[in-house]
């Protein structure tokens, strides 16, 4: 099956060539290591990845605080990191790009995780994942990153994750992992405008069987994609009709997603399979599957030139995590660098 899908890789190659350049650009990946309270800064020049800097984050030396989500501001002057565990609330840290100087912090909700800044509102939207056990509705915190203050908080479902905005920045999407829902928030009004149950089965015990873990809005049209970690599916939602239009059977445990800027390819991490899947969205076919260098594959971000997917893998116990760079055209890992324990969140700074 995979070999058949590989035939479709022409689309990948074509896309990569169309944006190729003579001089390999430098990409800088920020990788959050959740169980060692570190952020790794990794440079990739198109061929080799090297760790440029490692630094500790948090404020309690002997507590694991869990840096989880990362994002870089639209102006590329600052990057942001959510710290999941607190007393009990997590925090958002703001660092200056380059010097990595801590310049601000803001208390959020329980276990703040993934986030993104809207180019439209300039505000940062971060889900309070609240991994702490009880299946209660949680929230999305809305932060003014200039002043580093929370300016709004919107209630969604249980264990919200995958905080992503449309390209226009006017709509925010997240999924509630344990209540199985998709939420749409108006980025300007801060209100939930629509929600949808992504789970077609009855919840098991008190948790969704589908366990949606990520949302990725299509950069061009009005579709969004959700990773159903518990169902080994990626679902496509037409946001105009507000309907699930496709259910794509994926590798085991799809976890995070990203889409190339032209909207042709979707890259999914398979946490259960220790692999990355590259999907041709128009055909709905997985055109490449690449084993990641560690068994617990987590985060992914695709470069703006659509050449590379930067993938984090957690592994287990004392085995450190890794950052793999996947050449989307070749469908192979072209660079791997070892980072800290439980590498998860990732953000990419590009030229």
């Amino acid at each position: 099956m995979l070999s058949a899908l590989a035939l479709s890789s022409a689309a990948v190659t074509q896309q990569a060539q169309s944006v190729g350049s003579e001089v390999a650009p430098l990409y800088t990946a920020y990788v959050a290591c959740e169980s060692s309270d570190e952020v790794y800064v990794v440079d990739f020049d198109g061929r080799a990845a090297v760790v440029r800097e490692v630094f500790e984050v948090g404020y309690q030396a002997t507590e694991i605080e869990g840096p989880h989500g990362l994002t870089i501001g639209p102006d590329r002057e600052f990057w942001y990191c959510s710290i999941a565990h607190g007393k009990p609330f997590g925090v958002l840290y703001k660092y200056r790009v380059g010097s990595n100087e801590l310049v601000g912090e803001c208390e959020l909700g329980m276990f703040p995780a993934t986030m993104q800044i809207s180019p439209l509102t300039g505000l940062l939207y971060v889900v309070n994942f609240n991994l702490h056990g009880r299946m209660l509705p949680s929230t999305v915190s809305i932060v003014d990153p200039d002043a580093m203050v929370e300016v709004g908080r919107t209630v969604t479902g249980a264990m919200p994750h995958g905080s992503r905005l449309t390209a226009s920045g006017d709509l925010h999407y997240s999924c509630a992992m344990m209540s199985g829902e998709l939420y749409e928030i108006d980025a300007v009004s801060f209100e939930v405008t629509r929600s949808m149950q992504l789970d077609i089965d009855l919840p098991k015990n008190h948790a969704s069987a589908a366990k949606p873990t990520w949302i990725s809005p299509h950069p061009v049209d009005r579709r969004i994609y959700a990773a159903l970690n518990g169902k080994d599916q990626i679902v496509e939602v037409d946001t105009e009709k507000w309907l699930v239009t496709r259910r794509l059977d994926s590798g085991a445990g799809p976890y995070n997603l990203d889409i190339t800027p032209n909207g042709e390819l979707l890259v999914a991490t398979y946490k259960g399979a220790g692999a990355v899947g590259v999907w041709h969205l128009k055909s709905g076919r997985e055109v490449k599957r690449v084993k990641s260098s560690r068994s617990v594959t987590h985060g992914v971000v695709v470069s703006r030139d659509a050449r590379f997917a930067f993938v984090t893998s957690e592994s287990k116990n004392a085995d450190p995590g890794t950052l793999d760079v996947v050449d989307l055209a070749a469908g192979e890992v072209v660079a791997t660098v070892v980072v800290g324990l439980q590498a998860g969140g990732i953000a990419l700074l590009e030229p």
Partner: protein, 674 residues
């Protein structure tokens, strides 16, 4: 209507929301030339608490002409000043707050304006004077406790209070609000501030005391001993008569003058309370003076070194763990009569290490168990020595929870169960007490698990501190009372089977609580003093004000031990501390009247807590001994980071974050070098 849209004049008092306008025009919006701006009226706002105001905003192009675009309103202090998305403000709390009005064009953030909103304190509504006696005595000083409050009874601490009396010859008030009674008579005491004033008439009575004798519970003491002083007033009959007439007894104040043996620039060396409780920090003579009006008496007290015989801690054995950080420990007697210890690991492989410590001079590592985790922060063993439970954080599946082992043979721990339901955020600490396990759930609460059948634990109860932003860090259970340490919410005592409040594991009932300002409460250990009958909960801090250093350099924590007298659980009082300078506390243990503290970078500390307690026990020389665990190949080389102590069969075991398991013992210090 169209004109209004093009102007994009956001008159939100008339239109229900700006976004209705904005959304309607989003397809047509044109970004104004560089230099566009947002004009908001009013530009500055003063808004009393409880009142609302609608902002009006207008987007202008570079030429100052109205332009199209959407506008976003938000408050940078949303809990003090609410701001709807349409710009309606509601004042909640005093202060100077900022509201942002930001323009948006298509997919871009545009210019913005900020509006400063001042929410004034509510006007002062009254002055409350408390505890001012109706009569005071000549020659005495009485504090006036006054508070200016607003209409809701909230104190206006921002307003300076002024005092004066109607006749300084009878009584005068100093700048700090103390009333100095000078001559018999009536005097008006006026307290003013915030445009208000209140006068109270105070009667100054001739002080009947002509003679005063200081009394003491001790004639000679040691540093750290709490000595209670009193005063006998004479003539007794005259004092009684005046007291009956005036309704008050002439007050006695106490002061101390120290004459320490060490005169080489020694600092203040003793303290005395207003009730005459005194403690010396350094050996020497102390002159305790009691004063009533113009009469005084002085008592000379000799305080000696606390310990006639010095002791010290010496190493007995070391179980090195040099590749990963070590966390907590538990030492127990196994069912085979040998002595064992289990230690956890931190930020590593999810290991718990078992040791045979029967011969503490030759600590033997006998087994290692590995669970899916990065940190096994806590380890506990049941009273019968058969069951070990360890905590998990950093599990690859993020389910965490606890894992149980049958340790009937600690050389072959058998994994028998795990429990992670609703403990997925990570279990940081746990405890075992009479067939129940107490497991922290990600700092939010502790769950109580029935482990009578340890192969199938079941949740029977849960306890949470229901305060905004409350967090639980640790729990320790003794005699059916759970003592949780809750950071800024301090200590909570909960009946989980003691019966004092009818509680049980399935129905935990709070007995009392106590919090202190730093918010650093990290550990707790209950202790009843046999000497005094007082019941203390000894609380430990954890704080890292100077940042992190996990790998390559020593870290410099801070914090101290708080002694909270819980004899009356409805009125706990923090009475003493033990504070090692420039170091930070972690876990603690009390056996008899000796306190053992793992003082992180300060190593292991052993402290005499016999007798009554007051002041700083460190300064009083109550420390019996200390030991700095270091190893040149430690995770951080030569950096003490003592984690947790446990006295056991005459020795003291403790874990060190950087170097593993240690055993030390107290011996007489004959002055020889180690």
């Amino acid at each position: 209507m169209l004109t209004n849209l093009r102007r994009c004049l956001v008159d939100l008092a008339a239109a229900s929301t700006v976004f209705v306008l904005g959304v309607a025009s989003v397809a047509q919006v044109q970004k104004p030339a560089a230099g566009g701006s947002v004009r908001v009226t009013p530009a500055e706002v003063v808004l009393p608490i409880g009142e609302s105001l609608q902002l009006k905003a207008e987007l202008l192009d570079a030429g100052g002409r109205p332009a199209e675009g959407r506008l976003l309103f938000f408050s940078r202090a949303r809990r003090a000043l609410r701001c709807s998305r349409s710009g309606e403000l509601s004042a909640v709390a005093p202060g100077t707050h900022t509201v942002v009005v930001r323009a948006m064009f298509g997919r871009e953030r545009g210019p913005e304006a900020t509006v400063v909103v001042t929410v004034p304190h509510p006007a002062p509504a009254g002055i409350q004077i408390t505890d001012l006696p109706a009569a005071v005595f000549t020659g005495t000083i009485t504090p006036i406790r006054a508070t200016i409050v607003d209409k809701d009874g909230v104190a206006r601490d921002d307003i300076r209070i002024a005092y004066r009396t109607s006749d300084d010859r009878v009584a005068a008030v100093d700048d700090f609000g103390f009333l100095h009674a000078r001559a018999p008579g009536s005097v008006g005491v006026e307290v003013s501030g915030g445009g208000l004033s209140q006068e109270t008439v105070v009667k100054v009575v001739a002080n009947p005391v002509t003679e005063l004798t200081v009394t003491s519970t001790h004639t000679r003491a040691r540093t750290g001993d709490v000595v209670s002083f009193g005063a006998t007033l004479a003539p007794a009959a005259g004092v009684r008569a005046v007291q009956e007439r005036a309704g008050a007894r002439p007050p006695v104040s106490f002061s101390v003058r120290a004459m320490p043996d060490d005169t080489l620039g020694n600092a203040a060396t003793g303290q005395i309370t207003s009730t005459g409780r005194f403690v010396a920090e350094k050996p020497g003579l102390y002159a305790i003076t009691a004063t009533c009006g113009s009469v005084s008496d002085t008592f000379m007290l000799r305080c000696d070194e606390r310990f006639e015989t010095k002791r010290k801690l010496v190493k007995v054995g070391h179980g090195p763990v040099l590749d990963v950080h070590t966390s907590d420990l538990w030492v127990w007697e196994g069912v085979d009569g040998r002595d064992y210890c289990v230690t956890g690991t931190w930020g590593a492989n999810g290991d718990a290490i078992f040791w045979d410590v029967t011969d503490a001079a030759r600590i033997e590592r006998i087994a290692t168990v590995t669970v899916d985790a990065r940190t096994v922060n806590d380890v506990k063993v049941s009273e019968d020595g058969r069951l070990c439970i360890i905590s998990r954080e950093g599990a690859s599946d993020r389910k965490n929870g606890i894992v149980a082992f049958d340790v009937t043979d600690p050389r072959k721990p058998e994994r028998i169960s795990e429990f992670d339901d609703e403990l997925t955020g990570g279990v940081h600490n746990l405890f075992i007490h009479e067939n129940y396990a107490y497991a922290l759930s990600a700092g939010r609460r502790y769950d109580i698990l029935d482990i009578k059948n340890p192969r199938a634990p079941t949740r029977v109860g849960s306890y949470q501190v229901f305060e905004p932003g409350a967090s639980i860090h640790d729990v320790w259970v003794v005699d059916g009372i759970a003592y949780s340490s809750n950071w800024r919410n301090g200590l909570h005592l909960v009946d989980v089977g003691n019966g004092v409040k009818g509680g049980s594991p399935s129905n935990p009932v709070k007995i009392g609580d106590y919090a202190y300002p730093s918010g650093w409460n990290h550990a707790a250990f209950p202790w009843k003093s046999e000497d005094t009958g007082k019941f203390y909960v000894i609380a430990g801090d954890e704080a890292f004000p100077y940042g992190l250093s996990v790998k390559d350099n020593p870290t410099y924590p801070r914090g101290w031990i708080h002694f909270v007298d819980f004899t009356d659980p409805d009125d706990p009082q923090e009475v003493a501390r033990y504070e090692v300078p420039e170091a930070g506390t972690h876990n603690l243990w009390v056996e008899g009247d000796v306190l053992y503290v793992a003082y992180y970078n300060g190593g292991l500390r052993v402290v005499d807590i016999s007798g009554d307690l007051m002041g700083d026990l460190y300064q009083q020389g109550r420390e019996i001994g200390w030991f700095l665990p270091t190893h040149p190949q430690g995770v951080v080389p030569n950096a003490p980071m003592a984690w947790g102590p446990q006295p056991y069969k005459g020795k003291i075991f403790f874990s060190d974050w950087n170097s593993g398991l240690w055993c030390v013992e107290l011996v007489e210090d004959r002055g020889q070098r180690r």
